[in-house]
């Protein structure tokens, strides 16, 4: 099927749990985890047998060259791939120990616990306020005062409140790219998820906006479990506690970020993080 992997790559099964990495005892237990996860789009296999925990209140970065399956992995965590025709998964994905693919699982309820921020910011063509309030309204919140409070809370948490305070009812499309992305983060935070998925959240932004997002992530991890996909290795090194390296749909290596970047165990990982390919 694919090219031969270096012979020293251990099978995914031996990477069970966070205990594999050195000094792993410092990592909190997993909030979400995947076991033996494989995914297909029609006939094309996107993920092969991935096993990976996502520690609570930590930032886990998924890195790898484009096409390696990191975005696919992210989207299986909130079952957003359900809406892609022909998409299929096998294996186990668990939130707090319960499989999210169990028959009768309420996908809508799942997505209220596992929120997502997209690569290209996609605010609704409505006011700033309505963007953030939308998630609250569809979840049944009616009290106008409470909605207003939660909106302000979320905008503060996303570090954008001071910039939009005076223009809550202007269209979200009048904000700059970086502001729109932080608005999308506020929108995701408003429904108070437990896990936050971020797909290359700063890839379309300038360095200053990127820095603000990274600082934000650092603050957010105190409250949320964060999984971030990034193709920018410096960003992964700056922002994450734990890093998982994927290549062609397979998990090659996983461990504490400093370890993965300074003393990678696999040759492939070393080649990637030193820029020899990808």
């Amino acid at each position: 099927m694919g090219p031969t992997l270096p012979s020293r790559v251990p099978s995914a099964l031996s990477l069970a749990g966070p205990g594999r990495a050195a000094s792993a005892a410092e990592l909190p237990p997993a909030r979400m985890d995947v076991r033996g996860l494989s995914a297909w789009y029609g006939q094309t296999r996107a993920l092969t047998d991935v096993t990976l925990p996502f520690s609570a209140n930590r930032v886990t970065a998924l890195i790898g060259p484009s096409g390696c399956g990191k975005t696919t992995l992210l989207r299986t965590l909130n079952r957003l791939n359900d809406i892609v025709p022909g998409a299929r998964v096998e294996g186990d994905v668990r939130l707090d120990g319960t499989s999210i693919h169990a028959p009768g699982t309420d996908v809508v309820a799942l997505r209220r616990r596992v929120g997502m921020v997209f690569q290209k910011s996609n605010p609704f063509p409505r006011s700033v306020f309505e963007n953030v309030a939308y998630g609250l309204r569809v979840n049944g919140l009616r009290d106008r005062r409470e909605i207003a409070e939660r909106v302000e809370e979320s905008l503060r948490a996303a570090a954008i409140w001071s910039e939009v305070e005076g223009r809550l009812h202007d269209s979200a499309l009048t904000l700059s790219g970086g502001q729109q992305q932080r608005l999308c983060i506020a929108r995701a935070l408003a429904i108070q998820p437990e896990v936050l998925l971020m797909d290359e959240p700063a890839s379309a932004l300038d360095p200053i906006a990127t820095q603000r997002i990274e600082e934000l992530i650092h603050t957010l991890k105190q409250t949320y479990t964060i999984v971030i996909v990034t193709h920018n290795m410096q960003q992964a090194a700056r922002v994450s506690d734990v890093t998982a390296f994927l290549w062609m749909g397979t998990l090659i290596e996983y461990g504490r970020t400093e370890d993965v970047f300074t003393t990678p165990r696999e040759r492939l990982t070393e080649d990637y993080v030193t820029g020899r390919f990808g």
Binding site: A109, R111, F124, S171
Partner: protein, 282 residues
């Protein structure tokens, strides 16, 4: 100049000529109708009733009938058509059933309007016994324009980017909440355009209404959906078929009224659509 260049220039001229001729036909038609009918358009004509004497005839029943028809037809066709479009586009998937529905709708769009009249005759008049009423006429027209409504509504829905749906679903909204709160408002301009197209079509239809039994001589204004009726296009046809000269002017005048109504409806729709579009991107 080489012969090839000459041929090229000649064709350029030919193309322009053909286009001018075709549009000239349109102009000739409008001028002819205006010349024949403009003098006949008056308040007494618009509010009068038909009579044996051409000069005493008016088209109030036909105008009222057309407005009734348009209203009832829209009431029937719009919810069903938009609902079907949403069902097929947002929930339908790519399976064989969805494709069958799509092929079927495309075929229905190409069925001659008289055949819809026969359908209306068989179902609404004979089986349901709605008997040459506005209800039968509106039902027939609603079925006629349903494929147009569905096709144009689907186009409008497709124009909404997938990122909006994904963002909404990722926040834990249900499919219907996503459609109702995000997709439909964004698709509104396109939906309106399609609806107006369909309603304009219904306004101008004659044959299906004749087949289900719309009357030619109606000296009264309809008083409800079960009432017999006539409509502007039928009035035009009736008067065109009468050999006396006076009726020809009546027909032309009615044509002017019909075209004016179409103009107003289309104009309103363009305004409404632009306003909806502007609100989206503000």
């Amino acid at each position: 100049m080489t012969s090839a260049r000459f041929a090229d220039r000649a064709f350029h001229l030919l193309g322009l000529t053909v286009l001018v001729l075709a549009l000239g036909m349109l102009g000739a038609l409008l001028v002819d109708v205006a010349r024949d009918g403009l003098g006949r358009v008056s308040w007494s004509f618009l509010t009068g009733y038909p009579s044996r004497r051409a000069s005493a005839s008016g088209l109030l029943p036909a105008l009222a009938g057309s407005l009734w028809l348009v209203g009832l037809t829209a009431l029937m066709a719009v919810p069903v058509g938009v609902g079907a479009a949403i069902g097929l586009e947002e929930y339908g998937g790519r399976g064989r059933l969805a494709r069958l529905a799509e092929v079927n709708i495309a075929n229905l769009a190409g069925v001659p309007s008289v055949v819809y009249g026969l359908l209306g005759l068989g179902v609404f008049v004979q089986v349901l016994r709605w008997d040459r009423s506005l209800l039968a006429g509106a039902g027939t027209l609603a079925l006629l324009i349903l494929p147009i409504v569905i096709i144009t509504s689907r186009e409008a829905l497709r124009g909404v980017p997938a990122s909006v749906r994904e963002a909404s679903l990722a926040l834990g909204a249900t499919k219907w909440q996503t459609v109702w709160h995000q997709v439909l408002p964004m698709a509104l301009p396109g939906l309106l355009t399609g609806l107006i197209l369909a309603v304009s079509r219904a306004l101008g239809e004659t044959a299906p209404l004749i087949v289900i039994g719309a009357l030619s001589y109606v000296p009264f204004v309809p008083d409800g959906p079960r009432s017999p009726f006539t409509a502007l296009p039928i009035q035009i046809y009736t008067w065109v078929s009468r050999p006396r000269e006076g009726f020809r002017a009546n027909a032309a005048a009615t044509i002017l009224v019909l075209l004016a109504v179409l103009l107003v409806i289309n104009g309103l729709a363009i305004v409404a659509r632009d306003r909806a579009a502007r609100r989206r991107s503000a």
